[in-house]
Symmetry: C2
Subunit: 167 residues, 2 copies
DNA sequence: GTAAAGAAGACTAAAGCAGTCCGGTTTGCG
DNA sequence: CGCAAACCGGACTGCTTTAGTCTTCTTTAC
């Protein structure tokens, strides 16, 4: 399915919730309540995100987590890399060796290009975009039409959901 | 890792090998020899690809498999869909329900856009492209640079590796 | 000093994936 | 007519990855 792990999905939701109030300190339990993600899972994810440098922690009573960077500077690709390692559609797209085919493999070069394209799509969406779509009036899923997609590819378009938010 | 299954990878290699001689009939064993993929695996994959409508089989002695469509009309996305089902970066990007968060989920709409973008990248590469890169002089991996990627997004550019092939 | 909060890691259960093997059917050819 | 080559269809097993939980320890505010 070319699937992302469920945990990565949750992590994105958590970070989006934090991005709504970037300055505040967010306790793990509080985030669990706000996002409906199970508390132990939230704790586990935040630890990993901290290891990946995406959030900073404050220990002790009234402690919590805070985003390390401004929401606009954190992309979905960053989240995936923090939790699942480098983005690699196939193994051979990233590291050489280990593949029996390797030499004269027709798929290799094209897969590298695909990998780069996928990465670019993931770099195009930031936490700020997600937080914005949280604050906006709820949209019905069907309203996100396929025709809106090419905005990703316009060189100047960084804030994807700015487009989504309108109308 | 956003990984594709290894089997999907192999299937792409097999189809690329067949695309080099689209008219011929290819026996499973012969393809195994040409691609270094284990014979039972080849057989299994071709069966699945047939179920997915990508190849046609001829039974009996001197039988084999043939591509159902011209190589230029088969994309990597087709291969993935035949083996792994619909392309879905997250579950909620495709089917509704089953997600505890669901309502008021900030990540949902953005993930749908990402999913569409990823799909588009996968649709952009065909078996014909791969077969071409097989016939061309072998390129060293490093030569496929990131700067070549945007070709994917140019509206008129369908044959990605036509660009890769040159120089 | 006590309570609230994060840190760290071990552990279990479940799911998906890769790979193999089997018996069956169709077809070509001597 | 019978054998061999090739595909057909599915069952089955072992492995890896993932999700999720639990426990114990450390830090800090009041």
């Amino acid at each position: 399915m070319l699937k992302l792990g469920k945990l990565t999905d949750y992590a994105t939701v958590l970070l989006a919730a934090m991005a709504a109030e970037p300055e505040r300190l967010h306790a793990a339990l509080e985030l669990s309540g706000r996002t409906s993600v199970a508390a132990p899972t939230v704790a586990k994810l935040l630890k990993q995100l901290q290891k990946g440098g995406l959030v900073q922690s404050t220990r002790g009573a009234h402690g919590g987590y805070r985003l390390s960077r401004a929401p606009a500077l954190v992309t979905v690709a960053d989240v995936i890399r923090a939790l699942e390692g480098p983005i690699a559609v196939t193994d051979c797209a990233v590291h050489d060796g280990g593949c029996a085919i390797e030499v004269g493999c027709a798929a290799r070069a094209p897969f590298r290009l695909i990998n780069a394209a996928v990465t670019q799509a993931l770099e195009a969406v930031t936490l700020a975009d997600m937080a914005a779509s949280l604050n906006a009036a709820p949209r019905r899923p069907a309203e996100v039409s396929m025709t809106e997609v090419p905005i990703f590819f316009h060189p100047a378009a960084r804030q994807v959901s700015a487009h989504v938010r309108r109308r």
